[in-house]
Subunit: 241 residues, 2 copies
DNA sequence: TTGAGTTTCTGAACACTGTTCACCAATAAC
DNA sequence: GTTATTGGTGAACAGTGTTCAGAAACTCAA
């Protein structure tokens, strides 16, 4: 039995701050943990229980701070845009500015596993993202595009980024031998497969086997981006009708 | 107790063909049922158990014909292309041909609920789909495009179709009051929201509120498609380098 | 017709999932 | 120092994909 008024001697007392000061949960910490789980387990492995385990906490504790798994995913999506600065629109260099915007977007989407899947499932019209949308619109306006094009060009570009990165990650998932010469092997296999098709029935696939596979994803992204930008540029100066 | 050797009298025997002749399961029937469930319950409600229930069959019976839920989804994806005929390439009218291709694709994606979600998760390079890819490539070749553009233009177009329809359905899900004046109400609400933003911080959003929302999805799809086609067309005649 | 063999389907189980709810502990307010 | 309020617990519920021993139905040869 402990004597209530006696001081506990140092060797009895566990080292100071035995129980860590219980830094409380918060949306921020939950999102951090969710990203950790996402990177480790992928989108399908991202469960509330895994997130809770990452924080050494019971599942139900999460629901104090977050209504849903949907809300958690929305918070993760929002973070995608943190510190995503768009420059002031420069009418002289709007194409290069948009190129940079798209490159930066792709880089962000690639920075977390399966991020494109999450991005694809959300519309960038939540209040937190509106300043972003506004600045993007400003760049199209500065370029001298007609209203109707301004109104959809941002969507077009975003869809391209999301879709491209999503497809990148689909291929990656098919060849999960992470690291090493996996991409090399993948290239060879796919190229060999295309090249081995009957040339009478698939002349173009056989012919294009090398160029379809040889080019890096970076190159393909840039080319697709350039196609879209040329298409948009073709509207510069057209009246609003 | 039944007497084993006595014939059962007619009034005892249930009416002829009591038990229906047990049309056996097949991949086709399973995919049919899966589509029925998809249209009724949406992608999140599409479970193996629901599909089994649709067929009045135990869940585990499905696994005799189908390895995975993944395989089932792949079969559903494949069916998207059934009877999806591409015309012979006509160098004079390749743009109109591609427009039709995209329109038809969107129509198919819209013909089943959440179909775009399934389509987005698959790469159109399964053996069954290669003839399709081949014909699409042929159209780009006929248009006189350089190899590198041919190699990615199909992807670009498919990504656009999938992404556009997916976004359409995301909006639809946000306003699930099916039928009636729901789209009207949606338009008004969104437009009102954009218009109500502080004009000093969001001048472009406020300015463009009407044109961003007023236009029908059909119109927006056509415009985005036209942008991409113009971009592609800008490469006609360029050398393969 | 009988019987063997193969295919197809069943029911139960396993290990998960998201979400809720009564309860308990720690903190903040008076 | 006692009371609220908030944050966290553990168990439970209904649902998920998938597997597996065994029963039922079909096929085909004797």
């Amino acid at each position: 039995m402990t004597q209530p008024d006696m001081p506990t001697p140092p060797w009895e007392r566990p080292p100071k701050r035995r129980r860590p000061p219980r830094v409380p949960l918060s949306r921020e910490r939950i999102v951090d943990a969710a990203y950790a789980v996402l990177d480790r387990e992928g989108y399908d492995g991202l469960s509330m229980r895994q997130v809770a385990a990452e924080l050494h906490v019971a599942v139900s504790a999460l629901y104090v701070h977050v209504r849903d798994k949907d809300e958690l995913l929305r918070l993760m999506y929002n973070r995608l845009f943190d510190g995503y600065e768009l420059p002031d629109p420069d009418p002289e260099h709007w194409r290069e500015q948009l190129r940079n915007f798209a490159r930066q977007g792709r880089k962000r989407l690639l920075s977390h596993r399966d991020m494109a899947k999450i991005s694809m499932a959300h519309i960038p019209f939540t209040p937190e993202l509106l300043p972003h949308v506004e600045r993007l619109l400003a760049m199209f306006v500065a370029a001298g595009l007609p209203k109707k094009v301004v109104a959809i060009a941002g969507d077009l570009l975003s869809t391209y980024m999301d879709g491209f990165v999503l497809e990148e990650s689909l291929w990656r998932d098919r060849y999960p031998e992470s690291g090493g010469a996996a991409p090399e092997k993948m290239r060879e296999e796919i190229q060999g497969y295309f090249a081995s098709l009957p040339p009478d029935r698939f002349p173009n696939l056989v012919e294009l086997a090398d160029v379809m596979v040889d080019e890096s994803n970076d190159y393909r992204f840039e080319l697709g981006l350039e196609i879209i930008l040329r298409g948009i540029a073709s509207y510069v100066g057209e009246p609003d009708d």
